[in-house]
Amino acid sequence: MHSLIQLSIVVLLLPLLSFVTLIFFNRRLPRRGDFIGVGILGTAFALSAYIFWTVIVQSYDPAFRVAWDFTWIDLGNVPGVGPLQVKMGIVIDNLTAIMLAMVTLISLLVHLYSTGYMAGDKNYGRYFAYLGIFTFSMLGIVLSDNLFSIYIFWELVGLSSYLLIGFFFEKDSAADAQKKAFLANRVGDIGMWLGILILYSQFHTFSFSEVYANLAAGKFALSNAWLTAAGILLFMGCVGKSAQFPLHIWLPDAMEGPTPVSALIHAATMVAAGVYFVARIFVMLTPDALHVIAFIGAFTAFMAATIAITQNDIKRVLAYSTVSQLGYMVLGLGVGAYSAALFHLVTHAFFKACLFLGSGAIIHAMHHEQDMRWMGGLRKHMPWTFATFTLATLALAGLPLTSGFLSKDAILAGAIGFANVEGGGIYYLIPVLGFFSAMLTAFYMGRQIWLVFFGESRTHLKPADPHHGDHHAHDSHAAHGDDHHAEHGVHEVSWNMRAPLVILAALSVFFVYSPDPLDGAKGWFMKMIPTPATVVGAANPQIGSLPAGSVLPQLAAVGALPETHTAEGAVAPAEHGAAPAAAEHGAAAASHGEAKGGHAYSDPRQAEIVHAGHAAHYTAIYISSVMVVLGIGLAFVVYVFGIIDPAKTAVAIRPLYLFSLNKWYWDEIYQATFIKGSVVLSKLLSWFDTNVVDGIVNGVATLVRKFAFANAGFDKYVVDGLVNFTAFSVNTTGAVLRKLQTGKVQTYVVMLLVAVFGYFIYYFTRLIY
């Protein structure tokens, strides 16, 4: 077994150990055993840092990949298949190494931070236990080498997120949020599971490598539509976890959890798992699937950004910005800017974690005030927080010299390139949305910075109502139960909360990733994480350029989004043209080893996109810079110089304002349709069950039910019903027949004779005829 594998197993199991220890013994340990959590995560981080060092820094090999697996379930010699095992395994490649380091680092920082933030909570110990199991399952996702185990850890992540969102379960809002999150994720998981099933039903294996090998060998027996469907369905898992439209609704509510949890799970790692998963399955995604992904990403990015601009809760702004940024990543993958998307994943993880922890610090300092309208002027009180927060904000907004700039720019460049290659008008929608969202991002982050840190404190403006307006208000600790803004002065947070901020902020600067502040592609990350070779393009090239007519019906059959159809139809010819050109581009790229890791692409289309993206690099820089400046400028115009009064504007464009404030009414829509729908349906069915089904079986239902409760003669109906499905027949026959027993002996005699002579006449007639 490769030494790195052993290490990674240790890394994987350490957090589990922390979970087990803390869940059982936290009450018996000093400080509720938080040091165990932190210590263990420290070790885990050290180990993964070592892995990172060996794999990435020390001896980088583009094709580096070590895997190990063991038979988990042995199905024996299955008829028609032969010996069949379900294996569990671990794979380490460059991406894994980076993710390992990132996850453990952020998790460690959050652990550290929590020691300050959660201090005094009555379930303090359990909190760290939950963090432990979360880290465990997240690392599981990162390390898995097959779909089945990824699905397992996927759900486990969902569970830990469920537990942590509902950590303050006394709050109904928290309870609602955790349920919502779990269910939304389950919906996504269904899709993912079906996707897995499609692949399994073909190859009888879950392992990535085997699946891809089979695909590359063209062993996929079903139509390509099924393959596309598989891709889209697997992507649904990402839609759920990474809070993409239409399942994004849970993430903002998830802010009910403690703020460090929001930083760890709902900003940096778990939500990124979706993107990571799409990257893992990137090579088997057909162009059709990729188109769907790209559009969903773009739309999500835009929608979330528009919502974010009007939110007042500091964490909600960040939540929606997270959704929006995840949209970027998904968009990036969709357009084929693989490296860029993953790059953004990493950078975003750091600065968004920084932002959340910062907001946590603010909330902490403000005694659990989360509404930005009642903040202001904090920069004097909390300089550290201010500095780090601002730096991260700049990164998020994507100003040059920040990491966010590099990655976001790369994605947008890829989007432009993609649009160029596909050449369809509608595909330009994607970069356009991208850039527009960039502007919005800049705007709402500027707004946030200003509202929180500048101006004068507005705490006194807050309408003094006992339970804090909107119920999303605050984490109610036992210790920090009540809060009086007036008395306590706002002060900077303690070192164990400050240190993480600084580290994360430092990680949001460009030089960590790339020598050239303007080009991420020159950075080590994008060099080292090149776009992998697709297995579907190579195996059956017709997928890329399938005549529209033949694909559409099948696509419709598997229910892909409508725009892809039209899109596919539109671009099909264009691709025919593009393919050869792309081929030689790719060749060229390969020859004078340009910044694509000297990778030759088996799929011309992919090569073309990457190349075009590279070409569109500077365009992207210009446009995005302009957009960002516009955004920040607008923010200044509104909040600094007060030229435009936000309140008046809000009134002026009230419908739009409300539309954004109410998050495009998605919650209401879902409430009205799916949730109401299923509840009503369930009521209906259970009525049906108790009355109709039971009724049919028991004979006349109402009778049965009525008699069921009258202890007296009810059961005779039951029996009749049960015995021959119509309560009536037996029972009434009984009632009628027994009347024959008149008690008068002569009637008996008469009936005797009637019977005898009845027979006789019957036979008589039969003899006559």
């Binding site: 988990w72 379930i73 042995d74 199905l75 024996g76 010699n77 299955v78 008829p79 028609g80 298949v81 069949l84 089945f148 699905y151 397992i152 850890f153 759900e155 486990l156 569970l159 509902g166 379960f169 006394e170 709050k171 109904d172 309870a175 609602d176 349920k179 779990f182 269910l183 389950r186 919906v187 998981d189 269904i190 599971w193 079906l194 099933l197 499609i198 399994y200 039903s201 009888h204 027996a221 079903l222 299923s678 509840v679 349906l681 369930s682 009521k683 069915l685 259970s686 069950d689 089904v693 049919i696 079986v697 028991n698 069921a708 409760f709 059961d715 039951v718 029996v719 049960l722 015995v723």
Partner: protein, 546 residues
């Protein structure tokens, strides 16, 4: 060995018969000892079982001894029918992969049932006699390899169940009891006719006589009586027989639309009986299908896989929806059983190894998990004397241990990875999706995953999270240093789980988790039998794998 494990409870019952009914503790202990004895035997069987031997059909030379294990075969009845030769009925026990797991499950659940019967105060003597009778009957059904013997045990279950529900049940128990009795009897009387018909249609290759041996019946070439009612060419009657048997077993499962006895029975039955009912009895239906219904009429099974699958899907989704609407916690759990047994049906309908394996493993897991669920329902019912979900709220603040176990059980029941329920459901889907016949059905039934999560999480939230409901079934008081305490009206015992309850629950929880992490201890015993069963069920499946 099998005879011992079967009849141990009845022996205990006879001993109890001799104990004066005032000696409640002795009675309890006797039956507990019997249950423990069963457990030990089950463990020995588990240890001694050789997973490589497939079972299902007769081994080399047409005798069961080659393929089944722990076989006990004695000539029991041998009566002269003149021209029709002699009617031979054997006392014929044996286990293979699909029954040995059920034997272990039965031993486990009935032991737990005894523990949870500890609180029964009314007519303890009669209760435990009937209980032991029931235990014997259940165990017998799983190890009987002679149709006649199987039928005897099968019917023997009805009466004790009737009284256990009818005497120790809830307010509406008469209704539930007679309903259960008539339903199941209605299902099984037709089975009797089919059994006789099979007897006249099958000969034992070894003796050449007609036989009731299920092992002989499982081989189609033994249907060699010319002109017999179920002879291979007699398609019409074979179809009818299949349907009759299927309905007979489906009523036990219970399969929509024959399921309505289940909620009533569960709601009225005392906790231990619910545990037995859900934990073991329901499995008898699907076990019967795997042991009798399908192997005897494989070609009909092939033709009807689709229908069975559809019924499975209906069970899954319909059950989930009904559960979603329930206010009574126990009723919700009952409907969840219906939903979960739907997975079993679906897996069986797939007709391939993955599906069958999933189905059988699901039977085992559902046994343990549902047992846990009903025990937990019983715990809260003992304290609050109500099961209305809305009468609680915020319990996990006050009963942390209870809440923890509930969380495990609930999540196991909604198929969370790492807990045993997940693996079986996953395999059911894998199988159902892999077989072309049931693929569309599988796609639909996947919805069950979501709705399953929905009703479970919703009930969890309403009962354990949030704050105490204003009309809750318990009082809340805040002591000096601001700690909140609750107490239930007229409940003297420990507020949180007490020792006895933990003894019942913890093993189940441990099993659930252990089998979720590493299922091979159970699955390892099944695979060869399952693969054999799939072969018996026919080559048609194999060609249709993609």
């Amino acid at each position: 060995m099998l005879s011992l494990i079967v009849f141990l409870p009845i022996i205990a019952g006879l001993i109890i018969l001799a104990v004066p009914s005032s000696q409640k503790q002795i009675i309890r202990i006797v039956s507990l000892l019997a249950a423990i004895g069963q457990g030990v035997l089950a463990f020995l069987i588990w240890r001694g079982y050789d997973p490589s031997i497939p079972g299902i059909t007769a081994g080399p030379g047409g005798s069961a001894f080659g393929s089944f294990q722990f076989v006990e075969k004695l000539s029991w009845i041998n009566i002269n029918l003149g021209a029709l030769g002699s009617m031979n009925i054997d006392y014929f026990l044996g286990v293979d992969g699909i029954s040995v797991t059920m034997v272990i499950l039965t031993a486990l659940v009935s032991a737990i049932g005894v523990l949870s019967s500890w609180t029964i105060q009314k007519q303890v003597k009669g209760y435990f006699i009937l209980y032991n009778l029931l235990a014997t009957a259940m165990m017998g059904c799983f190890v009987a390899l002679d149709f006649f013997l199987f039928y005897v045990f099968w019917e023997l279950m009805l009466l004790p169940m009737y009284f256990l529900i009818g005497i120790w049940g809830g307010p509406n128990r008469e209704y539930a009891a007679i309903k259960f009795f008539l339903y199941t009897l209605f299902g099984s009387v037709f089975m009797l006719l089919v059994m006789i018909g099979l007897y006249f249609s099958v000969t034992d290759p070894v003796t050449g006589n007609h036989t009731f041996s299920l092992v002989a019946m499982a081989t189609q070439s033994n249907f060699n009586v010319a002109g017999a009612i179920f002879a291979p060419e007699n398609h019409g009657w074979r179809l009818i027989a299949f349907i009759v048997l299927f309905i007979g077993f489906a009523i036990k499962v219970p399969m929509f639309p024959f399921h309505t006895w289940l909620p009533d029975a569960h709601v009225e039955a005392p906790t231990p009986i619910s545990v037995i009912l859900a934990g073991v009895l329901l499995k008898l239906g699907t076990y019967g299908m795997m042991r009798i219904n399908f192997p005897l009429f494989p070609e009909v099974f092939q033709a009807s896989m689709y229908v069975i699958g559809i019924f499975g899907a209906i069970n899954i989704i319909y059950g989930a929806f009904c559960a979603l609407a329930q206010q009574d916690l126990k009723k919700m759990v009952a409907y969840s059983s219906i939903s979960h047994m739907g997975y079993v049906l679906l897996g069986l309908a797939a007709g391939n190894s993955e599906g069958m394996l999933g189905a059988l493993y699901q039977m085992f897991n559902h046994g343990t998990i549902t047992a846990m669920l009903f025990l937990l329902v019983g715990v809260i019912y003992d304290r609050a004397h109500t099961r209305q979900i809305d009468k609680f709220g915020g319990l996990s603040s006050y009963m942390p241990r209870y809440a923890a176990v509930v969380t495990i059980a609930w999540f196991a029941s909604l198929g969370l990875p790492g807990l045993s329920g997940f693996i079986s459901e996953a395999f059911v889907f894998v199988g159902a999706f892999s077989s072309v016949t049931t693929r569309p059905i599988a796609i639909v039934s996947v919805l069950g995953i979501v709705f399953g999560a929905a009703y479970l999480l919703w009930s969890l939230q309403r009962m354990f999270l949030g704050k105490r409901k204003p009309d809750a079934a318990y009082d809340l008081e805040v002591d000096a240093e601001g700690h909140e305490h609750i107490h239930f009206h007229d409940w003297k015992g420990k507020l949180d789980l007490d020792a006895r309850e933990l003894v019942m629950l913890v093993p189940l929880a441990v099993i659930t988790i252990a089998l979720g992490i590493y299922p091979m201890p159970v699955i390892g015993m099944l695979t060869s039998s399952i693969n054999k069963l799939v072969q018996v069920l026919s080559p048609v499946v194999l060609t249709s794998l993609n």
